[in-house]
Symmetry: C2
Subunit: 127 residues, 2 copies
């Protein structure tokens, strides 16, 4: 995988963001790049396990840089929280996903643990 200028841009944008970002958000941020280019960069990143996508109930996919140096393993996956008021997504990096036992014959590729509710900020400031 070659370190293209665009790829570096995307990766840097994702690293600086402290929460998972969506494609539309990146289109906003990286105004020099085209939507499809960002999309393709993200696809390549996913294939090479540099980033992974999560779904947070907002309806749009969010992307996140994988944790470990050797890509992201299952144990590295953490829980996510989607605030239904401010629509932000939080990574609870400290809270790992509790494992479950799959039925016979089923093999796991990835896990998503998503909590929806009200975040602490929005709980404090009632509108």
């Amino acid at each position: 995988m070659k370190p293209t200028a665009n790829r570096i841009l995307v990766l840097r944008a994702m690293l600086t963001a402290q929460y998972p970002v969506s494609l539309p958000e990146m289109v906003q941020t990286l105004s020099t790049m085209d939507k499809s280019s960002i999309f393709r960069v993200l696809s390549v990143f996913q294939q090479h396990h540099v980033v992974h996508s999560i779904e947070d109930g907002s309806g749009v996919l969010k992307y996140e840089v994988c944790g470990g140096a050797d890509g992201c393993t299952l144990s590295d996956m953490h829980t996510h929280f989607h605030c239904e008021v401010c629509r932000r997504t939080f990574c609870f990096k400290a809270i790992h996903i509790p494992p479950i036992e799959l039925p016979e014959g089923f093999s796991m590729e990835s896990v998503n643990y998503l909590v929806k509710g009200v975040c602490s900020d929005c709980a404090k400031k009632p509108r």
Copy 2:
């Protein structure tokens, strides 16, 4: 909430399906109803906690009839499995979602525990 003919149709279709169904699927099945009608029926059902929606990584929302007679509580939520080969969604009704401890100030409204991978059927029949 009135038991309209259409609402009965939708509810019956959901009860007979043994896995969560998507809106497009219901449009296919209930050919007499319009997409927007089904959509609105599902919205009403969700407001009255008759059904709830889950996201299974396929990109489209799936709907499922709530379990308990008094609507679906958090403890009633179960895990879901999305097969990346046949694109079916399984309800592991027996496997409840293991709880996590949220940080201070965060309140939970709903939980989604989604596993992606290969189901037992697709594991048997290699293509």
